[in-house]
Amino acid sequence: MMHIKPILAALKRHKAGTILIALQIALTLAIVCNAIFIIHQRLERVQRPTGMVETDLMAIHSAFVGMGDNQGGPLIKADLQALRQLPGVQDAVSLNSYPLRGGGWSTGVRTDVDAKDSKAHTTQYFGDDHVLSTMAVRLVAGRNFRSDEVVEADPRSVPDPSMVIVSKALADKLYPDGSALGKPIYIGDTKKPTTIIGIVERLGVPWNAMWSDDFYENSLILPVQLTSPYTSYLIRAKPGQLAEVMKAAPAALVKVNRLRVIPSERGVRTFAQIRDDAYKGDRGMAILMSVVCLVLLGVTAAGIVGLTSFWVGQRRKQIGVRRALGATKRDILSYFLTENLLIGVAGVAIGALLAIGMNLWLVTQFEMARLSLVYVLVGVVALLLLGQGAVLAPALRASRVSPVEATRSV
């Protein structure tokens, strides 16, 4: 570090190269910071829990052929009976949707019958008293529905149910003082109250999207068995028997009734596949960004190696002179390392500003979150280390320049 002043003086006379390396470090930092931030955000999403126990869980989509909305009831009942009797099946339920399915119902909810605007947005799951046991969500307060409380309804004519189980996030949003159990809520624009009889620890919405992130854990479970001919069966296999059930369950459904369509694509999936499909974009984005980061760091390192090699080549003579004047190998090595560090510091200083600026721009353009400064700090350290690593090879070569170079002309 003893050389800072003369190194700066020397750099002043190599402005172009210095600026180019600093600029490259700055741009790399800006992009890498934002990319790592995106990667981390995406990975956080991918790991987001649904509140269900996702092992031994699967789903089947089925649609009966040529049926009206009010004609599916008995057929679904027969299906459920067949599914629940399968040897590997622990429980099964017919739902309009389930977490991460990709499509579902959502509505506003009020706690005050006269309020004009809703207090919270939530998804609605319609199913019978087997929903909790099939999903294996944890009931933290109140009770489950009894089978005699479940009503059948055409999806176009769903009556306002008298009772509901809500997710804890929604309960806390509606009744922040924690008194939600037993309180009324008003679903949509109805005037009729629905009483909260149970609260589950956590239950995610069917969507993985920016717009649904605001209410990701707001869910209602309503004791209504829809009679529409299309439905989703959520099936919990007995531990370790998922593979068998994956084969047996669709076969059993076809056996019960042939006049149905189970889509060939995404019609029968384990929940692991459902999660994979739902987060495909997020995971892909994370992979893409990681690849971009790695290649980018590689390119930047290569650029530093290239330019420093050139500098070393250009300065062989003066390195020789320095050696003749008594510089040790270590002095030469530290000269180039220090030089790179100085350029690097300038680069990361500009880069940190660029990174923050770029993030602010992305925030306005793509509704992204604000960049945490931790990423910038990590990026700064990483790039400085990268620079030192990249400069090591040419600097070592420089340190091996013989002092005899000083006496050679050209």
Binding site: A16, G17, L20, I21, L23, Q24, L27, A30, I31, N34, A35, I38, A63, V65, G66, G68, D69, D154, R156, S157, D189, T190, M210, S228, Y230, V254, R258, L259, R260, V261, P263, S264, K280, G281, R283, G284, M285, I287, L288, M289, V292, V295, L296, G298, V299, T300, A302, G303, V305, G306, L307, S309, F310, W311, Q314, L362, Q365, F366, S409, V410
Partner: protein
């Protein structure tokens, strides 16, 4: 002279294989990253119907009022009620028009060994076939009269015709849809506009081709559900009839208006219609309507996925970094030869010639970078399926235009990057380098 410089350039590149390799790889990576994401961007921002994209329009009518639209920058709902769609169809103010929705139907094969299955199906009016330029393999569209009479007719797609009839002409035969027989009047040839402009709302722009078309009038009569979205501002009440009379929006609507004056007239008509509804007491607000053509509609619906935009941005940044990198490396490469330049200048080479020599050398590097970039772009396009939904990913293709563009971008950016180093090289004084080291 060009050949001479190219030869000099190639020799100089061979002399410095490591530096050359670094440059070629840097350019290759940058170009490949940009091109890969560009291929997705291009696919998603494609004009699906170039001949008619400025003649086909989506009308929107605000039937929910300012309370609902205030959350959406004052925009009317992006789909239509049954009431408005039927009124617009009845008035027939456009050259052609259709209401449409994705019908939730299943096909029941006559072969008892085959299970029922689903295909992408739409219910719409006869006009739609001509409006959307749908080609026919056999037969033709159904008629306006058949719309009127709710006829049990259908047009099927080529893939479904292959599946059910082994590709034979099936016109006149029956197909069982939702358990009822429909007479096939036509078989549509492959028609797969991308993005799926006709129903952006339900597909986000990407879906399988339509295999079943049935008359809208018949689908509604049989209370065939929509496979798409249904949005209600208020509880529609119970049952099908109250639903289709409600203010729930669930229908797409297209009007063909060949000239701008016809489009203007249609705008005036929409406002007049909304004013009429206001007078009738249905709307308690001033007319709020929109009329967007295909391009404007796709833009408004943000069909280009956010992932594509973000990664395009990142890739452009990437290209910029590779450019800066190339400037540095070329600078190193060129300045290392300043003694050569000095001698050349001393031997009478004018600046212009130095410029030419080094720019040609840079172009050679760019060309090599382009070849590497092309290989990597090929890999990248394959890897796109990791990042994007398969519907989108399969659109990203390495075609001739992308190959040419890759090469062009590689050479152009490298030559662009070479300007500063070349300028520096040309500044070398004649023979100055001979005098001292």
């Amino acid at each position: 002279m060009f050949a001479y410089y190219l030869q000099l350039g190639l020799r100089s590149l061979r002399k410095n294989p490591l530096l050359t390799l670094l440059m070629v790889l840097a350019i290759g990576c940058g170009v490949a990253a940009s091109m890969t994401t560009y291929s997705v961007f291009r696919a998603t921002s494609n004009n699906p119907i170039p001949d008619k994209s400025s003649q086909l329009y989506v009308p929107q009518i605000d039937n929910w009022g300012p309370d609902a639209s205030k959350d959406n920058k004052g925009e009317p709902p992006n789909a239509m009620t049954y009431t408005d769609a039927i009124n617009l169809m009845r008035d027939k103010r456009a050259k052609r028009q259709t209401a449409l929705y994705p019908a939730a139907i299943s096909i029941v094969p006559t072969d008892p060994s085959m299970l029922p299955f689903r295909e992408t199906s739409y219910a719409w009016y006869a006009d739609a076939f001509a409006m959307f330029d749908i080609p026919f393999l056999y037969g033709h569209a159904w008629t306006a009269d058949e719309d009127e009479s709710h006829a049990a007719v259908a047009v099927i797609g080529k893939a479904l015709n292959d599946k059910l009839f082994n590709g034979a002409n099936s016109v006149g035969k029956n197909v069982s849809i939702n358990g009822r027989d429909y007479r096939i009047v036509g078989v549509a040839d492959k028609w797969n506009p991308e993005p799926v402009f006709y129903d952006v709302i339900n597909t986000n722009g990407f879906d399988d081709p339509i295999e079943v078309f049935i008359p809208f009038t018949r689908a509604v009569e049989l209370q065939t559900n929509t496979n798409g979205n249904n949005n209600c501002s208020h509880d529609p009440g119970k049952g099908w009839d109250s639903w289709i009379r409600s203010e729930c929006v669930w229908l797409g609507f297209w009007a063909e208006l060949p000239t701008t004056s016809e489009a203007d007239a249609y705008r005036a008509y929409l406002n007049g219609y909304a004013a009429e509804q206001q007078r009738a007491g249905r709307f308690r607000w001033a007319p709020n309507t929109r009329l967007r053509n295909v391009t404007e509609w796709l833009d408004y619906q943000k069909v280009v996925p956010q992932e594509a935009k973000v990664s395009l941005m990142v890739s452009l940044g990437f290209l910029l970094i590779c450019l800066v990198n190339t400037v540095g490396l070329l600078l190193a490469k060129f300045m290392r030869r300043s003694s050569e330049i000095g001698v050349r200048r001393a031997l009478g080479a004018p600046r212009k010639e130095i410029y030419l020599q080094f720019l040609i050398e840079a172009a050679a590097v760019g060309l090599a970078g382009g070849v590497v970039g092309l290989l990597l772009t090929g890999l990248g396009v394959m890897g796109v399926s990791l990042v994007f939904e398969p519907d989108v990913a399969r659109l990203a293709k390495l075609d001739v235009s992308l190959v040419l563009l890759t090469m062009l971008v590689a050479v152009l950016t490298t030559v662009l990057a070479a300007f500063y180093p070349t300028w520096r090289a040309a500044q070398v004084q004649p023979a100055w380098q001979l005098k001292s080291n």
